[in-house]
């Protein structure tokens, strides 16, 4: 049985209305200032460090994103921590507020499908975050040009753009999760608390817990390098259940051309270096090869965003409209 008409009729209207709500709402203004102030703060202190230590670094500009001042997190770790918060702030009441305001059945009695409402809300949220992240990204680049006094090279720009896109995908994962909770929980407060709880668990507790859980599945004694690598593989597999870990792996490779594998930082933390046959240690990787290294992780992140959205979509389609 085919439905009449397009599922996307009214999509643009819903999206523009939601976008206007986000951009004028006090909630978004507070979240945006929080992110902008924190991010610019760490970039500024990072710049002081960069000036002192690495004058002849060929990828000086990328250090803006990864380097930080003494005891402070870097720009990308601030993003990794705060982007989920903003996404949850946007998404936790997207659907349940329509129910609680009793607007849902009135809107759905207009000639549109539920698909348009849900897609419109998701896209508007993602667009809001994109606007914020692009503005922030431009500010960082601008700050870099002003303080370092040199323009970024083409490859640096390409890598920074790739990082921006990955950050937007990362935002999409959390937005889809928040949207799912706004569909499942009728109360906005419950949805927000559950989403924030999961966020704290995945960003703070999970990185501490996952090595212990992984240890259950691997032997304690590591004798050969191959064993070590498989051991690290299991560790990573567990850590990657947190979107923040995936995000960290991807931007770590994108923003540092000398990183040849996502396991390299882990090995380095054990005091080991990754030696690949035929590769010169420490030599930068070409742009496309860096992309290749993180392609699976990126696809994984896109897939999890789609999966979360689809789960929410199916539940929403089956829900009764009456309160």
């Amino acid at each position: 049985m085919r439905r009449e008409g397009s599922a996307f009729q009214g999509l643009g209207v819903v999206m523009l209305k939601e976008l206007a709500d986000h951009l004028t709402g006090i909630r978004m203004i507070v979240l945006e200032w929080l992110v902008v102030l924190m991010a610019l703060g760490v970039v500024y202190t990072g710049i002081q460090q960069i000036r002192e230590v690495s004058a002849e670094d060929p990828f000086l500009f990328l250090r803006l994103f990864t380097r930080s001042g003494e005891g402070l997190p870097s720009f990308v770790s601030v993003l990794s921590f705060l982007v989920p918060l903003v996404a949850i702030g946007i998404g936790f009441d997207l659907v349940n507020s329509e129910r609680n305001q009793r607007t849902l059945s009135r809107i759905l009695s207009q000639p549109i499908y539920r698909d348009a409402l849900l897609f419109g809300k998701f896209l508007a949220g993602l667009l809001t975050m994109t606007i914020m992240l692009v503005a922030l990204w431009l500010m960082v680049i601008g700050l870099g040009i002003l303080t370092l006094g040199l323009p970024p090279g083409a490859e640096e720009v390409a890598r920074a753009v790739a990082m921006l896109i990955v950050t937007i995908v990362y935002a999409g994962v959390w937005l889809a999760l928040a949207l799912l909770f706004s569909i499942v929980f009728r109360s906005g407060a419950t949805a927000a608390l559950v989403a924030l709880g999961l966020w704290l668990f995945l960003t703070i507790l999970w990185p501490l817990l996952s090595p212990y859980l992984a240890a259950v599945f691997v032997s304690d004694t590591v004798t050969t390098p191959a064993e070590l690598l498989s051991h690290l593989g299991v560790l990573q597999a567990f850590a990657r259940l947190s979107p923040g870990a995936l995000f960290g792996e991807i931007v770590g490779v994108l923003l540092d051309p000398t990183v040849r594998s996502t396991q390299q930082p882990l090995l380095a933390s054990l005091g080991l270096a990754l030696v690949q046959p035929g590769a010169i240690p420490g030599a930068p990787l070409p742009l496309l090869q860096s992309f290749e290294v993180v392609w699976p992780q990126t696809v994984g992140m896109v897939a999890s965003a789609i999966l979360l959205f689809v789960i929410g979509y199916v539940i929403f389609q089956r829900q009764e409209v009456r309160a």
Partner: protein
């Protein structure tokens, strides 16, 4: 689909898990008619309405709205039907006009037509002064009227109103009912649901009384009155004059005379005996102070109908208590 009916429902059924919310409901709504779905909360009125709009799946049965199947052609149905949900909600942070603008964009009206329609609709429900006020400041009655304005703006052929008068004060109710009568005069068919029988009795051409997901009674209020209350006419008369009661009892067709107060009599008859009663009073040089015929009341019909079905009445009373 006949020419005269805008809604035809046949054997409409909705089950949730094991429970049956609507049980083989069959009714039609004619063009330009005001049709009332009456009954206590939880009797299946709202579920029936949602099925008509394609907002909830139909378990079994057939329904046709303006010739369209709401399950297969929901957009065609929703484009032509206006819906006022039970305690309608609007975006509090938007103005009344902006709320209507959003709906108008969803429907797909172009900007000039949109503004004309919004202005006209707000005028018609008496909200023109509040067009640029935030809905957050609106009273319940104003929100209901804004909901009716939305239906007017849409240019709907059918208006489906779920509990339009619930929670309103008598003044707001009267205003709302006047607007609903206005729908009829513009040729819009109205389907309204309510658990307050007396209030909507005056506007409905025909009603269906719901009980536990079924239609217990259907027809015009007068028809139901005759069917359930035994076909009698009740004429109240207030006049003075000795022996009036005895003389009135002799009028052909009068089956009984009842004294209900000082100088007040109630006649039970099988036809309208007001002319003869007046003539009698005048003939004995009495002074006629009041003469009126009682319209059958829905409440009376309801009570009488379920008095003969104690089980159902219990269910009704339960429902009514929850409604209160």
């Amino acid at each position: 689909m006949s020419e005269t009916n805008v809604i035809e429902a046949k054997g409409l059924t909705k089950t949730y898990g094991g429970a049956t919310a609507v049980d083989h409901v069959t009714f039609t709504v004619g063009r330009g008619e005001i049709f009332g779905l009456l009954g206590p909360n939880g009797a299946g009125k709202t579920t029936t309405i949602l099925m008509l709009l394609g907002l909830t799946e139909i378990s079994s049965g057939e329904v046709s709205v303006l010739g369209f199947d709401p399950a297969r052609e929901p957009l065609s149905v929703k484009r032509r039907v206006g819906y006022l949900p039970d305690t309608v909600g609007f975006y509090d942070q938007l103005t009344a006009a902006d709320n209507l603008r959003y709906t108008a964009r969803l429907i797909g009206f172009r900007s000039r037509e949109r503004e004309m329609r919004i202005t006209a609709a707000l005028d018609q429900v008496g909200l023109q002064e509040f067009a640029d006020k935030y809905v957050g400041t609106f009273s319940r009655g104003m929100r209901q009227r804004l909901g009716l304005a939305e239906i007017l703006m849409k240019g709907a052929q059918i208006a489906i109103l779920d509990e339009p008068t619930s929670g309103l004060d008598p003044h707001a109710t009267a205003e709302l009912l006047a607007i609903i009568r206005g729908f009829k005069s513009e040729g819009v068919s109205v389907l309204l649901s309510s658990h307050l029988l007396e209030r909507v009795q005056s506007v409905c051409d025909r009603v269906a009384l719901f009980s536990n997901g079924r239609i217990a009674l259907m027809g015009s209020v007068a028809e139901l009155g005759r069917e359930v209350l035994g076909g009698g006419y009740v004429v109240d008369i207030e006049a003075d004059g000795a022996g009036l009661a005895e003389r009135l009892a002799l009028i052909p067709g009068v089956s009984g005379v009842e004294k209900i107060g000082i100088g007040k009599l109630r006649l039970h008859a099988d036809r309208d005996v007001r002319p003869e009663a007046a003539a009698e009073v005048v003939a004995m040089h009495g002074r006629l102070k009041y003469l009126g015929i009682q319209e059958p009341s829905l409440d009376a019909i309801y009570t009488r109908y379920f008095a003969t079905r104690p089980d159902e009445e219990m269910a009704m009373r339960e429902g009514a208590r929850h409604a209160a």
